[in-house]
Symmetry: C2
């Protein structure tokens, strides 16, 4: 059975040293002193290790069930949810006026990694609620906020997001769910929604659904879409619960993974809904929080990688099989531990160097979100907007790959469910699909984000890399191992961008055929930048005579691995991109 | 629900045109006229489509169960197994004296792709039997052959391979199962074996286990291992079944996939076993058939990719979502089919170009095995020995990747078990692990095969590529699209081999740290060679005025895609390899 220990020292390294959070002028950051954030991470780590992680495998095995219209979560989830509520974890970064603690979003992300790594399916009940709260905060009326937020922040009520229908996922313009205006200002919502995570369950008193539907008069396509609040139980004027609303669970989907989360078919049958935000501007309302939502999914990807990695390391140290080619390292035992073998090392280093780079990238992204929201920093907003599809697409593809690699360390035992490694891969797989499939992320990146504001954000990114390289060019200890490879990778990225500009003008397919490779190329450059920065930080600590030299030396060695063995991928991505549209689009559809 | 249609035209292209099988001087090949092999493939295709494929998803869902010591396979498997028996499919390439049809192994591979793609878990009952038959054919006494083979060839009895124990998989020197000699010449076998595919079931009257165990006097490690035949039911002198032997099923493992195949814990409790082959030379006996067994697993990998690809194509043509960026292609419909989108194309082309290259590689490998066995061709034997770890490791990694990519085309529906795409990925995952995990394949390739016979086989491989390039250097139609990229990739492979020779002398870890990348680099060169040859064949057909021009144009376009978009990976693999042992081995074990 797998176990999980929160990587607190690594999280602290990123928060306190790499990002130097307490020195930031983002409102609320001064409060994030190491002793304060450390205590939060410790508490989250305990809950994760003692309560959430032990329910991960059992929740996967048992799954959710629908009986007479009622959804039951796996054994132990209710008690764990109570612990989550009692700890006030959901409100960490939510406004104090609704019962939250008002900390920066950054802390939600740091704690989120811990909870998601311990039990992704479980944490989604809270995660979806958090998303719904964000939408109500941004677009709800004062009355709506007062009605729903206090009880959602406290997790007495939970939330969902209802977008997908059987015939449309990405292309929401096709959606058919109808909203008919009523005399009292409410709407009757009718239609079917599918793939609704945490759609219903036995963890909360009420479920507040946010539903996209078409109200009359909005026109064709996505223009006609509005966003509605549809509570499972009607809420009386005094805040007590009234009658059951006209929304019910049609089915629970059987999925490849995240079995502990109820993915529901939701049937709306003239359910009472309340418009949130402006009429016919539902798409905008739903997607206001898209950067956070997508960063959160990227985080899920690498967090599954982290959990899988921890267990792969333990197995590689424990399992005795074969002898080191350079001579026995455990001569008194029947064989050496797996970790002596170079290819096992290669595999573990791939995992470790990715996860640590991904963590830095994600928390840096979260800091930009805070800068945008708390400081009104338009440049940070533009930068995180550009990087969001990279965070989501690259970190989930690589997170899944990491979980698969960790499973591989176990050999045959990795394929047996009892050992738990299959679950990390199966759970991570969804992160590549939901919240915009990764192909859609690549399209968003190349088709929209690159050209945004005349290309200013991407220019700013290159400028940032250039400045970093210039600022450190005298540091011989960084040059060969970190600066040179980062420079080469960044050049590949620029060349790819140039190719898109030149050939995409003539033929948009030339850019889109390379979009997936561009997303990965960009991801590697971002992780290369993170590793170069972490190396600088680690070297500074070593130069200052830290008492924890082994930690910083390990950081440097792990970073060197990433630069040497992962960054060379940028050349292949560039070569593919520069092959243009022809190889990709050559065949007529009937030739497939 | 997925469906499957045997890709007969593509198989025929490889057999009749690329490999030109009827013209080969390998004994038995002259018989393989297109009309004859075509009829066999057609019949196999019907069985696959009508009987096996419809049981694939239901077998996955239901799985196997153990009740009171008896293993039951999923509903329908018994009837399907009877159809497989009645068709005589198991004996296709087995000797006529034991009831087979004596055709070349090549035909077993071609038909095998069809059956495995339709239902991998089901086909393993036959596949394991085939492996056990091969071992008995190679090492059994005349009496053992007469006793077991006729009924195993007919599938009245099935077979298994028992190697792994709880504490040892790769490192068989650690095994503990004991064989105690008895006065009558038999042995009492005692111990526990795990991960025994098709270990027990309700499909056959008897199960013939081939078991590795240690008999006294053999010395330490793998030297002391012998191979034994242990029947589930004792066989009387007249061939009728006698008492139950002392072997029982301890458990059926719950796995990530191949649920339709019973993966058993087998307990041997003083079971009667019969030595097969020489005492203390069991490892050699078990591994005689390794090339076929591993080629068979590589085939499973790409066959799952083929099945998944077929369904991804169907979905991409059917599902309407979004509009082509170059203008609506289905203007009368609500949206365009997915297949108009460049990134969907990119994904489908990755799948298609891999599967077709893998098929050519595998059938070429099967032809070398026939040349070795039927013609005593030592060079073919050495070549297939070298290429076996590449076939197994590369094709299973890429086959799994292909299944995952196919699943991605379905978006959210790909994650729902009802749609069947998850199963292809879950089933394909095991192929990277069993029959020697892919890291072990890489070790075999770099640690043993490269240096075999003073490097002669790998030199012969390079010579073959060189000769092909030279023979076709005047063909301008091949040059830029096929010959130049193949040449560049082959140079990368040579440079990697050179690096291993130079640095591996000083430090074996320098070679082994790059072994996994070398296996993939080699795989890309092999598929590049296959595509260059297929392009040559296709161009010849077009030049000859074929009536099926679209087929050959499609082959050329698919090949161009592989050369342009997959072969550039060789540069990255080379860069990683040349970074040597340091990045991989830098950390002490406790730093993980």
């Amino acid at each position: 059975m797998p176990s999980y220990t929160a990587p607190i020292r690594d999280l602290e390294f990123v928060l306190n040293e790499l990002l130097d959070v307490p020195s930031s002028d983002i409102p609320g950051y001064a409060e994030l002193e190491p002793s304060f954030t450390g205590a939060i991470l410790e508490e989250a780590g305990k809950l994760a290790r003692d309560v959430l992680a032990p329910l991960n495998a059992s929740g996967d095995k048992e799954g959710c069930r629908l009986e007479n219209g009622v959804v039951y979560t796996p054994k132990g989830f209710k008690e764990a949810f109570t612990a989550m509520k009692d700890g006030g974890w959901n409100g960490l970064d939510l406004p104090e006026e609704f019962g939250g603690q008002g900390l920066p979003y950054l802390m939600n992300a740091a704690v989120g990694e811990i909870f998601v790594a311990a039990n992704m399916a479980f944490n989604m009940y809270q995660g979806l609620t958090h998303g719904a709260i964000s939408a109500i905060l941004a677009h709800g009326s004062e009355e709506q906020k007062a009605t729903y937020l206090p009880r959602m922040v406290s997790l007495d009520w939970t939330g969902t997001m209802n977008l997908t229908e059987p015939h449309c996922g990405t292309d929401l313009g096709l959606l058919r769910t109808k909203a008919e205006p009523q005399a009292d200002g409410s709407y009757k919502i009718t239609g079917q929604k599918i793939f609704i995570s945490a759609g219903d369950h036995d963890l909360s008193e009420n479920v507040i659904h946010l539903v996209l539907a078409k109200a009359p008069g909005g026109g064709e396509g996505t223009k006609g879409i509005s966003l509605f609040i549809v509570p499972k139980f009607m809420v009386n004027a005094d805040g007590t619960l009234g009658a059951r609303n006209g929304v019910s669970v049609g089915n629970i989907e059987e999925k490849m993974g995240i079995h502990g989360n109820a993915t529901c078919v939701m049937n709306y049958d003239g359910a009472t809904g309340y418009l949130i935000g402006e009429l016919h501007k539902g798409m905008r309302a739903m997607f206001t929080m898209m950067n956070e939502a997508r960063l959160g999914v990227g985080l899920q990807g690498y967090a599954q990688g982290e959990a899988a990695y921890q267990n792969a390391v333990a197995y590689a140290k424990d399992r005795l099989q074969g002898r080191a080619v350079t001579g026995a390292e455990n001569p008194s035992g029947p064989a050496d531990p797996l970790i002596v073998h170079p290819d096992i090392r290669r595999n573990l280093m791939d995992q470790k160097s990715f996860v640590e780079g991904a963590r830095a990238f994600t928390l840096w992204g979260a800091m930009m979100i805070d800068a945008a929201h708390r400081k009104g920093d338009a440049e940070a907003e533009a930068m995180i907007s550009l990087l969001t599809p990279v965070l989501k697409g690259f970190l989930t593809d690589k997170g899944f790959e990491t979980a698969v690699n960790a499973q591989q360390v176990y050999g045959g035992h990795g394929y047996i469910e009892e050992w738990g490694m299959s679950q990390f891969a199966r759970d991570a797989r969804i992160t590549m699909i939901y919240e915009g499939a990764n192909g859609v992320q690549a399209l968003d990146l190349v088709g929209r984000k690159l050209a945004q504001s005349g290309g200013k954000p991407v220019m700013a990114f290159f400028e940032m890399v250039k400045t970093f390289l210039k600022d450190n060019e005298g540091d011989e200890g960084l040059k060969a191992d970190f600066l040179d490879p980062l420079k080469a990778a960044s050049k590949d990225l620029q060349a790819a961008g140039m190719f898109f500009m030149q050939s995409g003008m003539k033929n948009p397919n030339a850019a889109l055929a390379g979009s997936y490779d561009f997303m990965h190329l960009f991801g590697h450059v971002c992780l290369g930048l993170m590793w170069a920065r972490m190396a600088k930080t680690a070297r500074a600590a070593l130069a200052a005579g830290t008492s924890d030299a082994a930690f910083y030396e390990t950081k440097l060695a792990t970073g060197r691995y990433y630069m040497k063995r992962q960054l060379p991928m940028t050349a292949t991505h560039l070569a593919r991109i520069q092959s243009g549209a022809d190889p990709v689009m050559a065949l007529p559809a009937e030739a497939f």
